[in-house]
């Protein structure tokens, strides 16, 4: 039966790359949008198969209990976003913001990006993981600049420069890890293979590993969008096509965080190395509090939710930094909930910005009156992301806060402060957006609501009832994270 598992792993990588090759030559956006959806669905199916049929770890690829969670989440949101993208793109073609040539490029890049992210998640070699993260980043840079307005170009340029600096630092860190491993593991591919690294980590030179982690934290931390390395993130979210904002927030940030978690496990396995936890806690808290205050001054709706992503990545980094079964569990849950909720919000925001013809918060008012379905979808999404009970994010935030109170009460003060400030900012803006005097276009919107409400439905369900197998799985992974 093992060939089936190998096939599933192969499909997760090969389907996106094959689809990208076809999409680059395929004319006609209706057909390519459909192919994009189908390819994403097949990838999702293959990812789910990985739960049941798991190949033995190879030199370059492996699947374990940790990354299978990320892969399934990644391909699921990738699939729903492709459905949303199909209806979003149709409107962009109609108003002439994108030409068919650019659209061909867009779809091919979408699949290439999915390939990059999936490869980063299943890579067993830390070198390969680095290459994959870089590939995913470069494709998103191109997508952010696709509208070619001056703002989009500036955003893409900024993203590119900061992203490359981050990726360069991460490569330096990767080389240092290799240097630390070489005396113990020996030269060659083995000294970059993650499974072998972890098994032998106790003999590594701790000083070298510490230095490596600093570089990796700064490098991949730039990708996660942790303050003060976040400067690219709001621009990239605000100026690119909305499906890309959804994928950036929901997926790419997670992939970068996953890379950091891998190295955190490695450091934890080396006894004399520094504890990576406090570093993550510090960066996480900084991001949370900083982004929470920044939320108040946003005038652009996509930019506002981009800051909200920084805030939530801060919470997740904080939870993983705290460590221990409960905080890790909360971190995993929060990451899943945030991916689902934030992409749902961007689905809503994409249609709203299209129908209103603007992204300025001041010009979008009274959505529940003019566009009830979109408006209430947004309300539900924002209420979820702000962390109101009984939705999924409330539960994970509650777990983070309560585990912090139990272990480090002092840290809970800035944490709760940040959460409350962000909560206030989001609800303040939501009032105007959803319930104010209606403003702007009231034209009917042709939207596909299925992806949005699927995500929101999952988030609502998770807040009330988490299936026991899922809980058991997350607990198991949380124990692995240490």
């Amino acid at each position: 039966m093992s060939f089936l598992g190998l096939d599933a792993l192969g499909a997760v990588l090969l389907v996106p790359i094959a689809a990208a090759t076809i999409l680059i030559v395929l004319p006609g956006y209706v057909l390519s949008a459909r192919l994009n959806v189908v390819a994403s669905l097949v990838t999702l199916g293959a990812a789910v198969l990985l739960f049941f049929e798991r190949p033995a770890p190879g030199q370059y690829l492996h699947v374990d209990d940790l990354n299978v969670v990320f892969i399934v989440l990644n391909t699921f949101v990738g699939f729903t976003t492709s459905v949303f993208s199909a209806s979003y793109i149709a409107h962009e073609i109609e108003i002439g913001r994108l030409t068919p040539t650019y659209l061909r490029f867009y779809h091919a890049m979408y699949q290439t990006m999915m390939f990059g992210m999936n490869l980063a998640l299943v890579a067993n070699s830390i070198g390969l993981m680095w290459v994959a993260v870089e590939l995913a980043t470069l494709t998103t840079v191109l997508m952010v600049g696709i509208y070619r307005t001056s703002e989009a170009l500036e955003a893409a340029w900024k993203y590119f420069i900061l992203g490359s600096v981050g990726i360069a630092l991460a490569l330096f860190g990767t080389i240092l890890v290799y240097m630390a491993a070489r005396p113990v593991v020996g030269e060659g591919v083995d000294a970059m293979t993650w499974t072998i690294l972890v098994a032998n980590a106790s003999g590594f030179d701790p000083a070298l590993l510490n230095l490596a982690f600093i570089f990796l934290l700064l490098g991949y931390g730039t990708k996660v969008g942790l303050a003060p390395l976040h400067a690219w993130l709001p621009d990239a979210h605000a100026e690119g096509p909305t499906p890309i904002s959804a994928v950036l927030s929901g997926l790419l940030l997670n992939v970068a965080l996953y890379a950091l978690l891998r190295f955190k496990i490695l450091l934890a396995a080396t006894p004399q190395a520094i504890a990576p936890g406090p570093l993550l806690v510090t960066l996480g808290l900084t991001s949370l509090v900083f982004a929470a205050f920044m939320l108040y001054r946003r005038r652009d709706i996509k930019r506002m939710f981009a800051y909200s992503s920084i805030e939530h990545m801060g919470i997740i980094a904080f939870a993983f930094g705290m460590g221990g079964p409960l905080a890790n569990f909360a971190g995993l849950l929060h990451m899943t909930m945030h991916s689902l909720t934030k992409s749902a919000i961007f689905f809503a925001v994409g249609h709203i910005a299209q129908v209103k013809g603007t992204q300025k918060i001041a010009e979008i008012r009274g959505l529940t009156v003019t566009h009830p379905v979109l408006g209430w979808g947004l309300v539900l999404g924002v209420v979820a992301i702000a962390g109101l009970p009984p939705l999924g994010i409330f539960m994970s935030e509650f777990l983070v806060v309560s585990s912090t109170f139990a272990r480090q009460p002092w840290l809970a003060i800035p944490l709760v402060l940040g959460l409350l400030v962000a909560f206030g900012a989001l609800l303040l803006r939501l009032g105007g957006l959803a319930f104010g005097e209606p403003a702007g276009s009231t034209a009917p919107v042709e939207a596909s609501y299925v992806p949005m409400f699927t995500h929101l439905g999952l988030v609502c369900t998770a807040g009330i009832y988490l299936p026991p197998p899922l809980v058991a799985w997350f607990q198991h992974v949380a124990a692995l994270l240490g």
Partner: protein, 220 residues
Amino acid sequence: MDRFAFDLAHLLAGGLVLVSFTMLYQDRLYALLNIFAIHALVLTLSVAWQANVQHAPHLYVTAAIALVFKAIVVPLALHRMVVRLGIHREVETVVGIGATMLAGIGLVALSMVVMLRVTPGADPLAREDLAFALAVVLLGLLMMVTRRNAVSQVVGFMSLENGLILAATGAKGMPLVVEISVAFSILIAFIVIGIFLFRIRERFDTVDVHALDRFRGERR
């Protein structure tokens, strides 16, 4: 013989740091591109010497890529782009040359102190190579920060990548995958940059990134 191998590797890596310094005070784009070509040339020699010392023939491929792609193709292409865009005059800097040089000296000192202190157990060749490589990386970063012009930022980025390759080849026996992929990523990066420069040209008639700052997305 062994002593000689060590000294030459040292000399070449140190030379790379020196050329990085030279780049910091160039105020004309043509001169900057020429210096970058020298930078890539020194890198080529350094990588080739490592290949010889380590008996690792695959590193010659990396050296060849550095020579053809970075010392010849990229500087020529950028040269043409500069001519076509008509921006061959001054390079605008954010901070004065003096302050930049001082900061550069500080960064080199920092990388020596950090790397040499952290790696007393490692093999001396790799260890000092790594210290120099970190210095080159940091100087590349400094250059990206202190220049406003898009072309010189790109050059800064590429010199930073050169530092990374120096580090990767200094780490003995590092798998080939990585070198090839580094070369590939530079290629991709260059394509990306090329596209961007052309788009920027279409829109603003300038590649001064500072001009882009006017179009802040925040729309205050």
